[in-house]
């Protein structure tokens, strides 16, 4: 993981956004604070309606916060109109100007900034090269494919060299294969330009593979900010663990809490080591999370025991659904090999062995 400098490009401080009044009052953002570092690929991840677009629009200046501050390199930009902010946006529907060519679209920002013609031309051809669209420079934007429009939208937003680039679900309109290609393309562009990217998505896989850091949002709040690894392996709350990847939740008695570690006594009576969500001191019972790939189905006794209810073959791996003795369902994920089946049958009594570093105690 490359070291990122510690300067903040954007600081969102105590920002709230309220739409409507009375019955129709919606707090799209509820006292949100988050620093976004220079040069990082920062992702806002959350389900539909959680306020991702609203936060992006406030940073871009298309809307103004009800409360709070938005700092760009230390200066409060919250009251500035969008055309005075060195921040550009890639829109979900691209919003390319239909009456202009590809090149004119890309040059628009620089033209509005009053840059000399020679400079605009040089920069536009540089941008066309960056997104590999040189051959289509003279085309109308209605005469190019969706993936190509996406590239033009990126080039148009990057051309004025913004301090921060905002991307609102830019890949959601593309089909699966093109989407994978554009994910790699976006990472490349971010590396080459060194611009801070704030990327919005509700696709957890996309967030995990692309981001330096992720903020998980729900109902107008940011629940957790961290690296993909942090978010996946050390979720702080049930919502985060549930939203990202597949998860098993267990109830356990927690004691011996020290230095972010604890002992968790499962309902089966067995005790396993666990890590504890940051800044949290559990008392008594708590929820712990174990990812399916951090547990194994075993013939003999394990930390848990139960009956195989279902076996689902996924190509790369097999999911074994175990009905535990206390009635809960637990999923185990196991790598497949070419020559042998998973070795278990439905209805068989088995043990579940949990790796030593698998369990994390959640805040709720």
């Amino acid at each position: 993981m490359p070291d990122k400098p510690d300067r903040n490009a954007i600081e969102v401080i105590g920002v709230s956004k309220i739409f409507g009044t009375g019955e129709a009052r919606v707090a799209a953002l509820d006292n949100v604070s988050v620093p976004i570092r220079e040069n990082e690929f920062f992702t806002l991840l959350g389900p539909s309606g959680c306020g991702k677009t609203t936060l992006l629009r406030l940073i871009a200046g298309f809307d103004f916060p009800t409360d709070g501050q938005i700092l760009l390199y230390g200066n409060d930009i919250a009251p500035l109109p969008p055309f005075k902010r060195p921040v550009n946006t890639v829109f979900q529907n691209y919003a390319l100007f239909p009456h202009m060519t590809v090149a004119e679209n890309i040059g628009f920002g620089l033209q509005m900034l009053g840059k000399p013609k020679a400079e605009i031309e040089a920069r536009v051809s540089q941008m066309l090269k960056l997104v590999k669209m040189e051959a289509l420079a003279k085309r109308r934007t209605s005469q190019i494919s969706g993936g190509q429009q996406q590239r033009v939208a990126l080039a148009r937003a990057l051309a004025p060299q913004p301090k921060v680039l905002l991307l609102d679900e830019p890949l959601s309109a593309l089909d699966y294969k093109l989407r994978k290609e554009m994910q790699i393309e976006l990472k490349r562009l971010q590396n080459e330009t060194g611009i801070t990217f704030i990327f919005v998505t509700h696709d957890q896989e996309e967030a995990l593979t692309m981001s330096d850091r992720i903020a998980v949002m729900s109902a107008g709040k940011i629940l957790q900010v961290g690296t993909p690894w942090d978010i996946y392996d050390k979720p702080a709350e049930r919502f985060v663990a549930d939203f990202i990847g597949e998860t098993n939740f267990l109830t356990a008695k927690i004691d011996n809490v020290a230095n972010g570690k604890a002992k968790a006594t499962l309902k089966s009576g067995k005790t396993i080591p666990a890590t504890v969500a940051e800044g949290f001191t559990p008392k008594g019972e708590a929820t712990i999370v174990v990812r399916p790939e951090h547990a194994k189905a075993v013939k003999g006794p394990g930390e848990l025991s139960g009956t195989v209810e279902n076996i689902v073959y996924f190509g790369t791996d097999t999911h074994i659904l175990v009905r535990l003795d206390d009635g809960d369902l637990f999923t185990v994920r196991q790598q497949n090999s070419r020559s042998a089946s998973c070795g278990f049958e439905e209805g068989e009594r088995i043990g579940v062995s949990i790796s030593d570093d698998a369990a994390q105690v959640l805040k709720d």
């Binding site: 871009a60 200046g61 969008p82 055309f83 100007f97 239909p98 628009f108 509005m112 900034l113």
Partner: protein, 268 residues
């Protein structure tokens, strides 16, 4: 053959017949009118032979030429002013958050379409005669003002339709790319709005050129437009000169509509 996917009205029995009858009824009188413009006779009703004499006669009739020039002056001025006003009104009623009274404003702008023309005509006659007495001015200004007023809704409708169909995120994108409000209008909204503005201008122009009732009431002596002149002629002896004038009028309208159509097609 593949199954027919959608309902096609042309497959309906009798469709062609009905369509032919409608076209016939619509265009037969016009065809007759044009044909008799070439009639070598003093009467409009009895065909004698082919001649262009009524076109010469109209061309040499200073009253006809005067009225034509006046018609165009009024139509051009009224259409231009009405289109500018309608564009501003359309922007003001679409580029805003909906508020109480917006529907009332639509009604207000479209009022001339709903009030019977004769009512407006009488009202203007009374109103303008007062102003004429106070100011002593009796030029074309009154006719231009009156025509502008009833042209505005015709110009407004296509412009508003175009604005409502325009993707708002384009203007947001322009603002994001450092365009101020004015530059956004100049470089994004206006170019995309242009076909709507042209359509509005054309409609306003044709509606003004064509008006009889309000013009008849508002005009001062010697301010005949082509339609009011023709109406006046009908009260006297009718010669094919009227047909000749109408034919030229028709050709001009068709030409104007075609030109506007081609321009707006190129723009989009």
């Amino acid at each position: 053959m593949a199954k027919r996917a959608t309902f096609d009205i042309r497959q309906q029995t009798g469709f062609t017949t009905v369509a032919m009858i409608c076209f016939f009824l619509l265009y037969l009188p016009i065809v007759t009118l044009v044909a008799y413009a070439f009639n070598d006779n003093d009467s409009v009703a009895i065909w004698k032979g082919f001649s262009l004499r009524w076109f010469y006669s109209a061309w040499n009739n200073t009253q006809v030429i005067d009225a034509s020039i006046r018609s165009f002056q009024i139509a051009i001025a009224a259409a231009l002013i009405a289109t500018v006003a309608a564009t501003m009104a359309a922007l003001a009623t679409t580029r805003t958050k909906p508020y109480k009274g917006l529907t009332f404003k639509y009604a207000f702008i479209n009022q001339p379409l709903m009030v019977p023309e004769i009512v407006t005509a009488v009202a203007l006659l009374v109103f303008f005669s007062r102003i004429k007495i106070w100011t002593g001015y009796s030029g074309l200004g009154y006719l231009i003002a009156a025509h502008t007023a009833f042209c505005i809704p015709f110009a407004y409708l296509p412009i508003r339709a175009r604005l409502e169909n325009m993707d708002l995120s384009l203007e947001t994108a322009a603002a994001d790319l450092y365009a101020t409000g004015w530059k956004t209008f100049r470089y994004v909204t206006l170019p995309l709005l242009w076909p709507g503005i042209l359509a509005g201008l054309m409609l306003a122009f044709v509606v003004s050129l064509d008006d009889v009732v309000i013009t008849e009431f508002v005009k001062s002596g010697g301010q005949d437009t082509l339609p009011t002149y023709m109406l006046g002629q009908l009260r006297r002896i009718v010669t094919p000169e009227i047909n000749a004038i109408s034919t030229v009028f028709l050709l001009l309208s068709v030409a104007i509509v075609t030109i506007f159509f081609i321009i707006s097609r190129k723009r989009t």
